[in-house]
């Protein structure tokens, strides 16, 4: 479960959707309705967040320093200071929606059939983001496209807020957080690799925050902490490897293959759920 979550969290294919569908398909014993399921997932997410913190450790040091410098001086002089404020702007909508809506949404759509259904929505969203990007780039030469790409530090605050709000869609099992944020980044004018970097940076505080809030529930529910902690470590290892792979892949790769994957996963899941359960 840790390997599955860590690998699928950063790929634009919805880790929550996989966490709901795969255990049902493989007849794993724990149920999504158990009180320890969400804290367990959050613990796995903490493994992912730790992997991201390690991957971007130098940038996070600069971002945290930049945040305090900009907050106290009231000015953004460097890229790190601006990026810190963009991440704060992008995190707030997801945090507000998460606190007030997350549990209600997850309770509404906890079945594997619904998660499988949202996988196809995720696939369509991915194709939509790529189509919008292609339409914007149509008619311009490769050099013009390269010149038009922005760094994550240069996108507008409105774009950061919209990309951040898109994260709330990931409360629906089957919709990928990284898929919608990378897609949002593409629409904001970022190249794929830069959109992935912004997505991973944006995900870190939300995942960490959710972990800090939910982890105490693990200690109250009498769950096998050793196994859960091992899951978190595996999740972190898988997430680190996934992030390294994706950052390399997005140098020239596109989102479309993941859209096709979601559609294929939807079809296969639906068939297996229908005939095997």
């Amino acid at each position: 479960m840790g390997l599955l979550q860590g690998a699928s969290e950063l790929f634009p294919v919805s880790s929550l959707g996989h966490a709901v569908i795969v255990p049902s398909l493989l007849h794993w014993t724990f149920k999504q309705t158990e009180p320890s399921f969400v804290p367990f997932l959050v613990l796995l997410h903490l493994g992912t967040a730790t992997a991201l913190l390690i991957l971007y450790r130098d940038q996070w040091v600069a971002i945290i320093r930049g945040f305090f410098t900009a907050a106290i001086s009231g000015q953004m002089r460097t890229d790190s200071e601006r990026l810190a404020m963009l991440l704060l702007t992008g995190t707030i909508p997801a945090a507000v929606l998460g606190v007030f809506l997350e549990n209600r949404i997850k309770a509404l759509f906890a079945s594997p059939y619904e998660a499988a259904g949202f996988l196809i929505v995720n696939g369509v969203l991915i194709f939509g983001f790529e189509a919008l990007r292609r339409r914007r780039e149509r008619g311009s030469s490769r050099e013009e496209q390269e010149a038009g790409f922005a760094q994550a530090e240069r996108i507008s605050f409105r774009a950061a807020a919209i990309v951040g709000a898109c994260q709330a869609l990931a409360f629906l099992p089957g919709i990928s957080r990284s898929g919608v944020t990378i897609g949002g980044g593409l629409i904001a004018g970022l190249r794929h690799q830069e959109a992935a970097r912004f997505s991973f940076l944006l995900a870190t505080p939300v995942i960490l925050g959710a972990g800090i809030v939910e982890v105490p529930q693990l200690f109250a529910s009498g769950v096998p902490l050793g196994e859960y902690a091992a899951g978190a470590v595996l999740s972190g290892v898988a997430a680190y490897a996934s992030a390294r792979f994706l950052l390399r892949y997005f140098r020239s790769g596109r989102l479309d293959p993941y859209g096709w994957y979601c559609i294929a996963a939807w079809l296969i899941s639906l068939a297996l759920l229908h005939f095997c359960l």
């Binding site: 907050a71 009231g74 000015q75 404020m85 707030i92 945090a95 507000v96 606190v99 209600r104």
Partner: protein, 68 residues
């Protein structure tokens, strides 16, 4: 966008968020707005409104017109 009016609004919002965060921390005061029917200390909401307060004060400091 530099504007003292926006800075004042953000500052006032920040104060409101601090008050709401304290009310959630004290517990039992705002059960209507929480997802949980249980009254008491709401860690999630307390942290959220503390972060919103911080963001509002930072925003206020960013948008105010500085006098040299």
């Amino acid at each position: 966008m530099k504007s003292n009016s926006v800075a004042v609004v953000l500052g006032v919002l920040g104060v409101i968020f601090v008050i709401v965060a304290v009310l959630y921390a004290v517990g039992g005061v705002l059960p209507t707005f929480t997802a949980s029917p249980v009254e008491g200390f709401h860690l999630k909401h307390t942290i959220l409104f503390a972060v919103l307060a911080l963001a509002s004060f930072v925003g206020a400091n960013m948008t105010r017109i500085k006098t040299v």
